[in-house]
Amino acid sequence: MSATSTARRKAPQEQSLWKTLRPGDVVVVVAVVALAVVLWSGSHLSAAKVTGAELVRDGTVLRTFTVQELDTDANYAFESLGYHYTIRTGGGRIRFAAADCPDKVCVQTGWIDRPPQVAACVPGHLLLRMTGNSDGVDVNNR
């Protein structure tokens, strides 16, 4: 490596964005969109009938919510791995209403009301998901 010269070098000419782009970039966009569509259609295309919701931790169901429970306005308190959660139901929907976990992604997810929607709190290992069935199709991908 040579010693850097102190002489001020001219800044290189900015190229336009369209000249910068390469054919592979299109491949990246198409591939990512295709992957997203495939993953999405794998679960969302089947119109499932809601059978309730369940709260899962590490693969085991902690609590099942029936359709009647989802229709009733109520708060449920849960504790998991030292974090405290309030789960709210009402109007056929369910959500994490409050949590003291670090990132609050679970609360930001908001209401979920039909499968395969989920709300997850990774720090507390909690997964709240809508359950449903549609003519024998396993909508939970389990």
Binding site: M1, T4, A11, P12, E14, L17, T20, L21, R22, P23, G24, D25, V27, V28, V29, V32, V33, L35, A36, V37, L39, W40, G42, S43, H44, V56, D58, G59, C101, P102, D103, V105, C106, Q108, T109, G110, P116, Q117, V118, A120, V122, P123, H125, L126, L127, R129, N140, N141, R142
Partner: protein
């Protein structure tokens, strides 16, 4: 660029080799501090007002990974990534460490792969977008492992992938002028 190995110089080495090594070490240190700052600053950007997907972020620290991949070497980028993740978790809490490491490693490997061929096949934009997608895949994979449930991959990952395409563009747009001006480090 000063060699691609990570061998510390010995006293018998030529002085130029020693100074090149020190220069590279200093560059890595500066890039680590820059990456840590960017990781913290991006938390202040309320991206959720624009795109209502929970848990998304711009991925500003990826600018540093991009720069290290293009102007230093893979080992530098990997070392900067690991040190950045550990330091950031000291500031922001240890819960995110597994995710940033998992996602960051996936992004680094994919970007290193696409970066080969020196920009003939992929521009910085393509590399950045693919890195963002790989980062999201890695994070959701880590979440699926922890929760022992695959439903996040179908319900949450598609949205994240599309958002990653969008957030990969400003990161690359920030990296491109820097790369163009700093040919040598």
């Amino acid at each position: 660029m000063s060699g691609r190995t990570f061998r510390p110089p010995s006293v018998t080495d030529h002085p130029h080799a020693v100074s090149a090594y020190v220069r590279r070490l200093v560059a890595d240190g500066i890039l680590v501090s820059l990456a840590v700052v960017l990781s913290i600053v991006e938390r202040w950007i309320p991206l959720n007002f624009l795109i209502p997907v929970p848990g998304i972020k711009l991925g500003l620290a990826n600018i540093v990974t991009l720069f290290a991949l293009y102007r230093l070497a893979f080992v530098d980028a990997a070392a900067i990534l690991v040190v950045r993740c550990v330091l950031t978790s000291l500031f922001l809490g240890p819960a995110s460490l597994v995710f940033s490491l998992f996602g960051g490693t996936c992004a680094l490997l994919v970007m290193a792969l696409l970066r080969r061929g020196d920009g003939r096949a992929f521009s910085v934009y393509g590399v950045s977008m693919a890195g963002a997608a790989a980062h999201n895949i890695g994070q959701v994979a880590a979440a699926c492992l922890i929760l022992q449930d695959l439903s996040l991959a179908t319900s949450y990952l598609p949205m994240l992938l599309l958002v990653g395409l969008l957030t990969g563009i400003p990161t690359a747009a920030a990296a491109v002028p820097v790369l163009r001006r700093l040919k040598k480090i």
